[in-house]
């Protein structure tokens, strides 16, 4: 019992400290990790800013990191065609037709504010969390793939084969549609998505993660000061992922 009480007191002290620090000093990790038992808030809008000038066409570190973090390659058989394999993030090369200028960039779920995948889902499995992360609730997904049709970014994949050896934090299985979760399990711990971390570790730092609603955050500052764009902005979906230098 003594150890229980001590553990609880320590936890309370840490929570009190977090509250005291968060409003004033910008300790990013403390400010971003939500307390145990606290729900995601609409005050936050998670987003990415991708600087294509820093993205190397020969590099796929983000794709590998995503695959590893979310266990996308484990337990998939050889019978499946490559184009049918689940992929949450992919590298694309964009070419300006008139000038021939090329830009390389990662593409993933754009985490729209008005997600068409959510509009078309017949079971409510496709949903947007309060903090702007678009997810699939696999408990409700019937695998109809309407959302794959609706997504203009081709961001979603269908899991065709049985999956084994999943990551404990990333449950996924046959018969469901899935896509980039913005590494929601890491974000809830106050960490950054795997692709962002790996890109920075590789010395490129082409992907910036942060809270678009927080005027003091680095991502909010950059989208305020620099020319950035949303892909297919004409569709009015208001994606949370923005690109710079396309």
């Amino acid at each position: 019992m003594t150890s229980n009480r001590r553990a609880w007191l320590t936890g309370s002290a840490a929570a009190a400290l977090g509250v005291a620090i968060a409003p004033g000093i910008r300790l990013i990790e403390v400010a971003q990790a939500r307390a145990s038992g606290e729900a995601a808030s609409t005050k936050v809008r998670w987003g990415l800013l991708i600087d294509t000038s820093k993205c190397d066409s020969g590099c796929d570190a983000c794709v590998k990191a995503c695959s590893d973090e979310n266990g996308l390659q484990v337990g998939t058989g050889a019978a499946i065609e490559d184009r049918q394999r689940p992929q949450w993030i992919r590298k694309v090369m964009l070419t300006e037709v008139k000038t021939g200028r090329q830009a390389s960039a990662p593409m993933m779920c754009q985490h729209c504010a008005e997600p068409p995948c959510v509009d078309v889902c017949p079971t409510g499995a496709s949903f947007k969390r309060a903090d702007g992360i678009v997810l699939v609730d696999r408990h409700a997904c019937i695998g109809c793939r309407y959302c794959m049709m609706a997504c203009p970014y081709k961001a979603r994949s269908f899991v065709h084969e049985p999956v084994t050896n999943q990551r404990a934090q990333v449950p996924r299985g046959q018969g469901c549609v899935e896509s980039c979760t913005l590494c929601v399990h890491r974000v809830d711990r106050g960490e950054h998505p795997a692709c962002v971390e790996t890109c920075a570790a590789a010395g490129r730092g082409a992907i910036l993660f942060g809270d678009l609603n927080d005027a003091n955050s680095e991502i909010a500052r950059r989208v305020r000061e620099l020319a950035t764009q949303q892909l297919r902005a004409d569709l009015g979906l208001d994606p949370g992922v923005r690109y710079q230098g396309l």
Partner: protein, 146 residues
């Protein structure tokens, strides 16, 4: 209310040892503290506990709550027989924690078609470290939940 709960927990901790139905390391299990609820309640209500929690976690992003499938697996997975390397799992044989009971009761369950049946240690899943788990339990008790 709290006193009753503490008493119940003490009775559970000090209960006479019974022969385990599966090769569960009782000493190691007890070292992790009491489970999230009394065994009778868990046996009867574990689907409801988990179903309620899964919606809160998936939909609202609530983390670190009392009931967690990953935490069940972390504590209750037992070594699989016949493997070259010792692997703990809740599936794979009539002696394994989840599959054993579900086979006897003839109840099909599909949790582990998506969820990991093998514990992946602290830092994976909701259970985290033992200290964190104990802290969580104590917090929940102080709030008056069962």
């Amino acid at each position: 209310m709290l006193a009753v709960l503490v008493l119940l927990a003490l009775f559970w901790l000090l209960r006479p040892a019974v022969p385990a139905a599966q090769p569960l390391d009782l000493a190691a299990a007890r070292a992790q503290g009491p489970c999230v609820a009394a065994p009778a309640e868990i046996r009867r209500n574990h689907p409801d506990l988990l179903r309620h929690q899964r919606d809160l976690t998936v939909r609202d992003g609530v983390r670190g709550a009392r009931a967690s499938l990953a935490a069940c697996v972390n504590c209750h997975a037992t070594p699989l027989e016949g493997g070259a390397t010792p692997v703990r799992s809740v599936l794979g044989g009539p002696q394994q924690f989840c599959q054993g009971c579900h086979t006897v009761a003839a109840v099909k369950f599909d949790c582990f078609e998506c969820h990991a049946a093998v514990p992946q240690g602290p830092g994976h899943g909701a259970s985290g470290s033992v200290t964190a788990a104990l802290s969580r339990r104590t917090t929940i008790r102080s709030e008056g939940a069962p």
